[in-house]
Amino acid sequence: MVEEKYLAIFKDEATSHLSTLERCVLDLESKGVSQDLIKEGMRSAHTIKGSARLLGLEEIGKIAHRIEDIFKEIDSGKPLTPELITEILSGIDSIKTLISGEKRETKREEKSEEESKKGFEVLRIPREKIEAIIDYAGELFVQKIKLMGKIEAYEVIKKELKEEIADYLSGFLPEDKIKPITERISSVFYEVTEDFKNTYEEISSLVEGIYHTSLFMRFVPFSEVGEELRRIARDVAEENRKKIRFLIKGGETELDKADLDKVKPALIHLIRNAVDHGIETPEVRRALNKPEEGVVEISVEMEGENIKISVSDDGAGISGDKLVEKAIEKGLIDRKKAEQLSENEKIAFMFEHGISTKEVITEISGRGVGMDVVKATMLEMRGDVRVETHKNRGTRISLIFPRTSFTIKGIKVKDIEEVVIPVSDVVKIVRLRKEEVIFRDSEAFFEFQNTLIPVKPLAFLLGFEDFSLFDGKDFTYVVILRSGEKMFGIKATDFTSDEEHIIKSPSALLEGMKLIAGITVSKEGLPVIVLNTNDLAEMFFAKTLPQLREEVKERKKRILLVEDSITTLMIEKNILELAGFEVDTAMHGGEALKMLNSKTYDLFVLDIQMPVLDGIELTKIIRSTPGTSRKPIVIVSSITDEREMKKAKEAGADVYISKRDFDKSGFLKVVKDFLEK
């Protein structure tokens, strides 16, 4: 019985050597026999054999021994035939199967693949430890941003203090005496803030260094996946009796392992398609005056903030007409409409489920399952797929997606709720005047670059009931967003210029939750959502305003109850909860203000006399805040003074109930009447 700890070590070691073996044999096949490659391969086979035998894994030992023998034979001058290559590759596959069968997959095994890079010492660190370091480093980065906010606030205080002191002194000192005093204050503040700034700059560069280094711990060169894809291409070519040359460009580009894992299945599909659908048989290629050997190339490059991975071939190209025929067969489009489609629109059918132009359905591809998955993967990764194809010249399919889990450039957009939108999804921010809005079937549009763009309030899309396009003003701001081919506008009451935001994962438990691409942390230390523009677009176009309005109304009405007497608070809360309302409570106006920033309420029940911020002041704030300005406010107070009651009404309260005359049913009726309006 093999001890588990040794087995784990063997698996790590063998996986690494198998990957070397695979690379060697594929290089021998494509580049020709080289002593270095033979020796490298032989060494790897020999090591696997030795370790396997030591652990009593006889079957693995036997296969490794045979592979080593083949390398020896080639070394002694035996020609490297396709049969021998297939034998080695089959041997590698058998060892892989045997290894995975020894014990079910563990996290340690995932590591081995990821860290099998040769040429330097590899330290195996569990993924969760790396994630923890990245999290802490991310938090340091957030603290750095918060510190900058504090320095900025300090600058404002300096200016205000200088003005206040000058104002105060002007009462009893002539102007020429005041100036030196305020200048001195300025100079002291300047020295202190400069000192702060210098320290900040130093800390800042250290923090950025730690953060970026920690992020790059998760990076692996693309070539690790590239080699695996080369093997797949080779196998598919052999099975279809095609000749190919497989090229990898930019294999040294390092990508986040998480991104690579997500995109890998899509790449496998594209490679299979390129060889099976794209590259022609040698006979056909000869007839077309093409070299017998087709070229399949995979390239990786950065395109701005995005990663672009392209799979190209010099094969037959994709026929838009064939795709349309299949689409008509499947009932996706009628012939009349199909005749009006452009070539690009025809090609777009390849991403529909069940569409394939392959005449013969093989084990490899042609089932029409896959390209829709490629598209879905890209949507999930907030990316895009581009296709360029030319008859008999080939096809290039590019997957473009943003780098994840880093900092992104985003703008903060507010419409009741504040969210971050990646700059890469923003087309433009425009100022929209009321008269520019065109209403069609209760939907709002405006003209932008000769196109009608639909617009909806962000608050409405986020589930708030109190939404409006203009909030009583003559104009509003509209952020025009792009998702794939679609453009749409969201109304915002406020927005910031683009800033760098640290993107954190919204926790594995919430993975897949709609609308959330990630979470960032504000200068105040609060989480802020980074919107997934594709999800937002889906919601935008799927649901019309009235439909959403109905959905929003289905939720429980939420009331904020602000009262400093715990007895009154509990009585009122009990009455409201028993009537089916959701009730949040605050003990004074200050606490209530904080709650207003994080939630939306349908009605407010306020006391007047409270510490920190009284009910009258709170009423004024509620009335002057866009999201709450039209919400009902019920005052329940023990003050019976007419003047106070008048003050409350003037501040914006809708109804005033005296605690002396308080009765449960009357109170409930008032609340219900307002909420049903």
Binding site: Y136, G138, V142, P506, A508, L509, M513, T585
Partner: protein, 163 residues
């Protein structure tokens, strides 16, 4: 497994105790509930919670804690329990090694060893509110429900996929 759990496991081993025999008893207003100690990560001060737009009812929001974003669950969606008293609240972080989440409680939780006399009753009753319970523990003649944390996490994943 995170570092804290590893240290804790070693500590228990050194003390000759079994971690599985301990429960953490938490209080929410007047209700009590228990969580097997192995799933408890830490108790944290009242966190500022950010609600998520269009989120399911079992999700109160998220918090940022030491660089991690942690979802805060509304546990009353899974067991019959009081809503927390929002003025005196603290977070209670639970994890099964794969997922981590917080639950709001009102008092610092107690640590309890399961003695033989505080026998655990399996929660095999047909009532809906017992679905996410591992059983009950007897504490001062009161039966306190023990949460089945892996099952709750599994249910959350299921509901999120559907949401």
């Amino acid at each position: 497994m995170d570092i804290k759990s590893e240290i804790r496991k070693r500590l228990f081993k050194a003390l000759g105790e079994e971690e599985e025999k301990y429960l953490v008893l938490a209080k929410r207003k007047k209700s009590f509930f228990a969580v097997p100690f192995e799933f408890v990560r830490e108790v944290i001060p009242p966190p500022p919670i950010k609600t998520l737009p269009l989120s399911p009812p079992f999700l109160k929001g998220i918090i940022s804690h030491l660089g991690r974003i942690i979802p805060i669950l509304e546990i009353s969606e899974f067991i019959k329990i009081d809503e927390p008293e929002m003025r005196r609240v603290m977070g209670f972080l639970i994890s099964d090694g794969r997922y981590i989440a917080g639950i709001l409680i009102n008092e610092y939780p107690e640590f309890k060893k399961i003695e033989e006399e505080s026998e655990i009753f399996p929660a095999e009753t047909p009532y809906k509110e017992n679905t996410f319970l591992k059983g009950f523990v007897k504490e001062k003649e009161t039966l306190i429900p023990i949460l089945d944390i892996p099952l709750i996490f599994e249910e959350i994943r299921r509901r999120i996929k559907r949401w």
